[in-house]
Symmetry: C2
Subunit: 154 residues, 2 copies
């Protein structure tokens, strides 16, 4: 999905929820979709302000759930205090696992198509209806293991 298409989807979602299309929301959207990697709320704020300097931290935090609900962003919680987000250009309900390097904190993602099936299996045994599932793998840089250093940490 192109950034153009995603912006349209964002506007449709806003209309659908009877939310207004504001300059701040558009700036935050644009900043989010300009990111190549995972980003935090604080990083998003900085980038959004570069586009529209009236954007406040509060509005970023208020807009993130809107974009997450509409599946334009995926929220990635690696259990480290702050949450990460990434643009979801695929659109659909792609099942991915996060792999987090405990040395350099870098977040990788890799597809895990069986997760949806497992979510159903697991939940049906417990009389629950599955909503979402997340697989997180912690790992250690081989670069770090060999050299006591990797791209992001030494």
């Amino acid at each position: 999905m192109s950034t153009e298409a995603a912006r349209e989807k964002f506007k449709l979602h806003l209309a659908d929820k009877r939310l207004r299309v504001t300059n701040q929301r558009l700036a935050i959207f644009a900043a989010a979709f300009a990111q190549p990697e995972h980003f935090t709320a604080e990083e998003l704020l900085a980038h959004a302000r570069a586009i529209d300097d009236s954007v406040s931290r509060a509005t970023v935090y208020r807009t993130l759930p809107i974009m997450t609900e509409s599946a334009l962003l995926r929220e990635v919680d690696i259990g480290s205090g702050e949450k990460f987000y990434r643009p979801n250009r695929e659109g659909g309900s792609t099942q991915v696992a996060q792999v987090v390097c405990v040395d350099c904190d870098k977040i990788f993602e890799i597809s895990a198509p069986f997760m949806e099936w497992y979510g159903s299996t697991v939940s049906s045994k417990l009389d629950l209806t599955p909503v979402s599932q997340r697989l997180q793998v912690s790992a250690r840089c081989n670069a770090f293991r060999d050299a006591r250093a990797c791209k992001n940490r030494n």
Copy 2:
């Protein structure tokens, strides 16, 4: 693994790390292993104080990582602000998935033996060595769906 055996393991771990066996640490251990379900740091504090009223919140927070590192406790992060813990009576590296009900916030666990294999598979593709993996499923109580209420929420 019995609570007795776990306490010995705890003491061995402390000795191994050259940490001291204090009344507070023992009280926190005992409180943790008396829990049948998942618990939070705050709940653990209350139970530990019932055993030794000199236990402080700070010591609970300082002791939790010690017990987690020694695999006596498993940390369960469901991305809800506070972390949960549970006694790991199995001792080993049991692979379990957490299933969290979004209606009542109850945490279920169910074995997921394939997770270790998947962790390796995923990590080997990224030149990383897997350390641990966690699968979390969000689900919705069927009891809640049917009756707009369940044991813990209505």
